[in-house]
Amino acid sequence: MTVSEEAFEQFRAGVGMLSEMAPPATERTDEERVRIFKNTVIKKIMPHEAMDLETCVHCGMCAEACHYYVATEDPKYTPIRKLELTRRVYQREVSPNRWLRRLLTRDITAQELEAWQELVYDSCTECGRCSLICPMGIHIAEMVALTREGLANASLAVDEQRAMSHEQGQRGTMFGMGSDSLVQAAQVLKQKGIDVPLDQPQAEILVVTSVIEMTLFTDALEGTAKIMNKLGCSWTVSTCGYEAANFGYMAGYSGYHRAAAMRVIEAAIAVGAKTVIIPECGHSYPALRWDGAAAYGKPLPFEVVAISEFIGREIKAGNLKVNKIPAAGKVTYHDPCKLGRVGGVFDEPREALQALGVDLSEVSPNRAQSYCCGGGAGNFLIRRAAPLRAKVWELKRGQFEDAGADRVVTSCASCRINFMAGAADTHWEKPIESLVALVGANLAD
């Protein structure tokens, strides 16, 4: 059921190569970078962001919400400081007080833009925890995404994410793998007797998956297929729009975000899907659920649900029956930020775990206040951020141990990767599992 160590180490090695494999970034002069960054911030700033940037009192409380600051106590990870350049552009160019701010606020430089790459890619996962602590109510995480857009446009996105975004945005493949990998994965499952209906002309539900489920976390894909079949839904996976991951969305390339999202949207419209199910892949959920409409240009003509959300709903409705896991031990559930805090999916995964009869022992803090795994928003791809992730893992491991967990269940591939990496490096023996895989393996006959 769990993923083999060799496969995981192979995957890590592959990710480790990304920065070398990355095509060279577009050459840009310092002036161009500054101009592009500024224009991106200027055109994208919205009223609530403008008011947020006006209201910061520099109290520093946001640092105490950030897992990177909490784990390192290094002041440079203070969330609001990650918005420093965005703030300065806003204050000098858009703010109602720009005439005064220009006197008091330094202009940004290309060197600063380069320095900020580390702050918004390596040491921020847009987990949104700081947006909950801020006494002024500043939505910091959202503006980190804006800052990433500025840097990405200025050709300053971090190498690994640039590589993934370009490949997905331009060629539609990932790690060189295309729809043939999906066909292969479907065949593997077919041999196990699990049917994956590819490219049905019409279907109620379009299930999207991800390259990571086709290669590494096949247990999650398997679980998804078994559940869908068990429910007897009209469902399909489209070879034209099967990839849920959206690296352009994470890295800040809105063009690539749109390109990747449109493949899924068009596939869903083509089969007449009423529902699109997003796999266990953190950022894929907001990329379509919350920001898909912006890419599409109008409201999406279908509902977007995360697989764990879907499962929880079906279990609660009595449509899906599961067996109680014998001697499951103490299980803790890690809320992925993109699903939980910034997604609103808290109860459904727990609903599923309850149905499985496990002794659910919550970590503290949990749900909306849960700490990030330390590697979300594409951070897990960045090789140089590994030491930082290791520190956050220590934090998370402490929480898991305090909860007395025998096994950790989550519903996000990137959380799973980070925990597995941390566990492997620190020889932590507890299993780290997929909720979907767990449900899929324990379906009632």
Binding site: R35, I36, K38, N39, T40, I42, K43, I45, E93, V94, S95, P96, R98, E149, A152, N153, Y253, S254, G255, Y256
Partner: protein, 354 residues
């Protein structure tokens, strides 16, 4: 006109014993707000004090200051001090009139050149060469300059002489000013008040008699001993202020209980004078004790400092119309600023995303 008797001799002639003299000295010390430690020094000095010549000039005034000083009808300390000086010219009090009076003044000026004290009450009009007030055909301005030239020192009695007072109040049609606006080369003591406290006037005279010089003055040339503290500082109703107990109207419970009059516009906190301790009418009372707030009559420009019944801490916020204009202006600039920002955003949108 001056004789050479000392004050001690004069008192003795009046049948005041040595004990009486010492008591007089104790009362004088108290009046001058000097510590009892100084009594022997005062006694020694007063024993030797000679009778000074005093010329009193009244200009644009209401005679209230003179009334204040002469209203005593018993052998008071003020009376004794006042009796001791040689008042050689005072056109309200003196018996002589017309040419005789003016001759008396000129004679005193000649005889005591450089030694006489000049007391002034009333302000001096400057507009149109000072023609708005004349005595015997002489403008106040010219008489003041003339008499001040030979004076040892000048005591400006009352707010008008000290700071221009009521004639100086807006719009000041006669261009009235106080003495110190005109005379700058003589020592001047201001004893402001409308009217000033009589014991303060005599206190200054007593000090001059005792020590042969003027008392220590503050930045407005007022004697520190009397004007060093505010009415509020020495007010017996101060505890109510601290406790937050105030009269809200002149006939409410607070007013009846004698609570603080700050809310009713009392200017005690910004008024430097000795009313709260020296009091009026032979120490019977003073305005606050009578239930009315201080109007700050001894302060410069007291007449133009806003309503007497407006609390001291009230602000002058401007008119609702101006405030409305500010709202409109703010909205206009804000909308303009947003419009320009949107224009800038539209320009920036030329830069396409990857």
């Amino acid at each position: 006109m001056t004789d050479n008797k000392t004050l001690a001799e004069r008192l003795r002639e009046r049948g005041v014993s040595r004990r009486g003299f010492m008591k007089f000295c104790a009362a004088t010390a108290s009046m001058m707000a000097l510590p009892p430690l100084m009594i022997p020094r005062i006694a020694a000095a007063l024993e030797q004090a000679r009778r000074p010549s005093v010329i009193w000039l009244s200009f644009q005034e209401c005679t209230g200051c003179t009334e204040s000083l002469t209203r005593s009808h018993a052998p008071t300390i003020e009376g004794l001090i006042f009796d001791h000086i040689s008042l050689d010219y005072h056109h309200t009090l003196q018996a002589a009139a017309g040419d005789a009076a003016e001759h008396a003044r000129e004679a005193a000026m000649q005889e005591n050149e450089g030694e006489y004290l000049l007391v002034v009450d009333g302000s001096i009009p400057l507009k149109d060469d000072g023609i708005y007030s004349t005595i015997a055909g002489i403008t106040n301005l010219s008489m003041l300059e003339d008499v001040a030239a030979g004076a040892a020192a000048i005591i400006s009695v009352g707010t008008c002489a000290a700071f221009g007072g009521i004639p100086h109040a807006n719009p000041n049609p006669t261009g009235a000013v106080g003495v110190s606006e005109i005379i700058t080369d003589k020592p001047i003591v201001n004893v402001p008040g409308c009217p000033p406290i009589p014991t303060v006037i005599t206190g200054v005279l007593a000090h001059y008699l005792t020590f042969g010089r003027l008392p220590e003055l503050d930045s407005l040339n007022r004697p520190m001993v009397f004007f060093g503290q505010t009415i509020h500082d020495r007010c017996y109703r101060r505890p109510f202020y601290e406790r937050g107990q105030f009269a809200d109207t002149f006939d409410d419970e607070g007013a009846r209980k004698g609570w603080c009059l700050f809310k009713l516009g009392c200017k005690g906190p910004t008024t430097y004078n000795a009313c709260a301790t020296a009091k009026w009418n032979d120490s019977v009372s003073f305005p606050i004790q009578a239930g009315h707030g201080c109007i700050g009559c001894s302060e410069p420009n007291f007449w133009d400092k806003g309503a007497f019944y407006e609390p001291l801490s009230a602000g002058r916020w401007g008119t609702p119309a101006a405030l409305g204009a500010a709202v409109v202006a703010g909205a206009a600039i804000g909308l303009g600023s947003a419009a320009l920002a949107r224009k800038r955003q539209a320009e920036a949108s030329e830069e396409k995303d990857i």
